[in-house]
């Protein structure tokens, strides 16, 4: 059973649909009380960093999420903004992040007329290390759907799980102990996303 955090910053419906497709069960949690007993959590999110942190704070999520992440160490997967919120801070906002992983979220900085921001569409990715989430059975031509203007810059290279090339080589997936994050949308990435969600469902 996967608990999906719903603090009105993400598309929880499509995440639930993909979990169902992967043969699992999920529950959409609309208040922090509902994740107190969670065994496994997905934190989806789209939109601006400060709005995300503000919604987490206003909804009273932060304390219970901190307990789950750092004390109980339940597996947590952040998607898109949900991943970025796990960092220390973001160039996009002034509020501190959840500070679970040593990383900062920074903006794509390209010359005008070179690469468009946001980075939107399907892109190929590279595997930096194998874990239970990204196992060796993942094929070479992995591709996922992205929509984002900011990306997570890891302080520790060993935390990097996946990378993507869009003008620069940036981290699009990390895994550090019980915490995982992906910049792309596995719930909208066909069999490639299904494989990842299935692994999170079954192997953790």
């Amino acid at each position: 059973m996967i608990s999906i955090v719903n603090c009105n910053i993400g598309n929880v419906g499509s995440v639930a649909n993909m979990i169902k497709k992967a043969g699992g069960e999920s529950t959409i949690c609309n208040s922090p009380d509902e994740i107190i007993n969670a065994e496994k959590i997905i934190l989806p999110g789209v939109g601006a960093f400060d709005i995300g942190m503000k919604k987490l704070a206003e909804g009273g999520w932060i304390e219970v999420l901190n307990t789950k992440a750092t004390i109980e160490k339940v597996p947590i997967l952040g998607i898109c903004l949900g991943m970025q919120l796990m960092a220390n801070s973001s160039e996009e906002g002034r509020l501190p992040g959840l500070r679970w992983v040593p990383a900062e979220t920074v903006k794509f900085d390209f010359d005008k007329n070179s690469y468009k921001v946001p980075h939107m569409g399907w892109n190929n990715i590279s595997i930096k290390k194998f874990t239970k989430l990204i196992d060796p059975s993942f094929a070479d031509d992995l591709r996922y759907y992205f929509v984002h203007a900011y990306y997570m810059k890891m302080q520790e290279q060993r935390d990097e799980l996946l990378s993507c090339d869009y003008g620069i080589d940036f981290t699009c997936g990390f895994e550090k102990e019980n915490l995982m994050g992906v910049q792309f949308h596995p719930e909208k990435s066909h069999k490639y996303g299904l494989h990842l969600i299935k692994n999170f469902l079954e192997k953790y």
């Binding site: 598309n11 649909n17 468009k116 399907w122 759907y145 929509v147 719930e187 909208k188 066909h190």
Partner: protein, 254 residues
């Protein structure tokens, strides 16, 4: 490498799919759910559903159908048709659809797009504009609800919706819709230069070559209906999508 965005665009009337020619002569295509399943199998990169009857009939989006579609859609999906309030947008997003296409109501209510962007973020809101040439061969904004040109200049309308902060612009070339005449390459060049956000062009594709030309001309994404749902001169329904080898043909500008 970022793949070029190639987007099947499916038109709905209430609960079935149709295909138009120059926005007329709606031909029945079939059931949206089974069609979507076929596109899923082909691992389509993204898909757009437009209910072309909702605004005309002044009805709410068909939430039951959207819910069924979203539960089968493992790719990004956009929906447009009859969206006139923030509450509707919220409801559609919560169903599991990523992006909302707003066309007609942005002409009527000049504040709506901006409010939508402020509430749901620019990457969620696509501003759509139907373009038709007038008697003097000048492009104007066309209204599909009243089925006539509005007299609004395309450049003015685009400037306004870009100022409202839409994350993408979807251009529908009414004169070429369903004609297989190819995209209007000059139009693509002219319009794509005028905007920094991604521009999706739709209307006229006759084959993969046309998609390639439109991308090379500056379109960020190419949308089409007929070439993905019809086969042969009699327009027999057959669902197709470019395969891995085809994608190698598509030029791409960053």
């Amino acid at each position: 490498m970022l793949r070029p965005r190639i987007i099947p665009t499916l038109l709905m009337e209430q609960d079935y799919l149709v295909k138009t020619v120059k926005f007329k002569y709606d031909k029945y295509i079939g059931d949206p759910i089974s069609t979507l399943r076929l596109f899923n199998e082909k691992e389509v990169d993204e898909i757009v559903f437009l209910d072309i009857s909702a605004s005309k009939r002044n009805v709410e989006p068909n939430y039951d159908l959207l819910k069924d579609l979203a539960s089968e859609c493992f790719m990004p999906m956009s929906y447009g048709g009859g969206v006139t309030s923030l509450q509707q947008i919220e409801r559609i997003l919560s169903i599991g659809i990523e992006k909302i296409v707003i066309n007609n109501y942005a002409i009527q209510n000049k504040k709506f797009l901006k409010q939508a962007v402020e509430n749901f973020g620019s990457t969620t809101i696509i501003g759509a504009v139907d373009i038709k040439r007038n008697f003097f061969n000048k492009i104007e904004v066309f209204s599909h609800t009243s089925n006539k040109n509005t007299g609004i200049k395309v450049a003015d309308h685009l400037a306004r919706i870009l100022d409202d902060g839409v994350g993408e612009v979807f251009i529908n070339d009414v004169d070429r819709d369903g004609t297989y005449a190819g995209y209007d390459i000059n139009l693509i060049k002219k319009l794509s230069e005028s905007m920094e956000v991604p521009m999706i062009i739709c209307g006229g594709a006759s084959g993969y070559e046309d998609l390639s030309r439109a991308l090379a001309a500056g379109a960020s994404a190419v949308a089409a209906g007929s070439i993905f749902i019809f086969n042969g001169p009699h327009r027999a329904v057959l669902i197709t999508y470019p395969g891995k080898e085809d994608f190698k043909l598509f030029a791409r500008k960053a």
